[in-house]
């Protein structure tokens, strides 16, 4: 990716750097890079870590429930659980209450790795947000939480 700092135009049209779509996309791309580098030594990507965190909840979740929390669909969740299972981080078993459902739970190894990876993630987030004054970083997170909430 050959991204460059966008330039000012002289024709009265808003600069590219003020386009919300561009800003959100490239902020995400840049964070994804930072995050991927940080997590790579642990053999995880960001989505797998998010899945581990969701599956670590006290109430065991079915694949469909976990997919809902992650904002992915159930076909994507199948592959995600496949990966976690192949790495020995999670296990599926048929729910005794509803045999259509898989209950997915972390293994001991999964819990340990989750703990380590969360520290790595937090450090990566802090590094990424470091160019912002603390107040601005908090305002950013607050704004993003509002904008991503699914209203009504």
């Amino acid at each position: 990716m050959t991204s460059e700092t966008p330039q000012t135009t002289a024709n009265g049209i808003d600069q590219l750097s003020t386009r919300l779509g561009y800003l959100l996309k490239h902020a995400h791309l840049r964070y994804a890079e930072t995050s991927a580098e940080a997590l790579a030594p642990l053999g995880l990507n960001g989505r797998e870590l998010a899945a581990l965190a969701v599956l670590a909840e006290d109430v065991p979740l079915s694949q469909l429930e976990a997919a809902g929390r992650l904002g992915v669909d159930r076909t994507t969740m199948v592959a995600l659980v496949d990966t976690l299972e192949a790495k020995g981080l999670a296990e599926r078993r048929r729910s005794p209450l509803d045999r259509r459902k898989n209950v997915v739970q972390l293994t001991e190894q999964g819990r340990t790795l989750l703990n380590d990876a969360e520290h790595v993630r937090l450090a990566a987030e802090r590094r990424f947000l470091a160019p912002l004054p603390e107040e601005e970083a908090e305002a950013l997170l607050r704004a993003l939480r509002i904008l991503t909430a699914i209203e009504s």
Copy 2:
């Protein structure tokens, strides 16, 4: 996409809704929807509009220069210019100064559509940011500009 509002966990691990990667990704996905809906009647997507804006600069750009401004690579730029040309919005011609380069410029139709589309885009951005108090919206844009700038 079955996205749901993430839930609080009870095990001390940060909630999904505080994950920076999740927030940036889903904020972008939600804005992309809003933007796509708004631009669809004009027969444009967000990237095509951004390309039109870049190509409307006073100094005519080559494909590679335009690609740099947009943050895409030159192979992607080929298809983008193909699309704009097929819609009658832009034209490539060989640069007389360096015949390896294509100078890409908007047609009259392209300029007119750009003007209309920019109004539509601005309205869509305002609608998307409407849930935020004005100060928070400005803080968000300021923060994103800092985070997306390619430093040193």
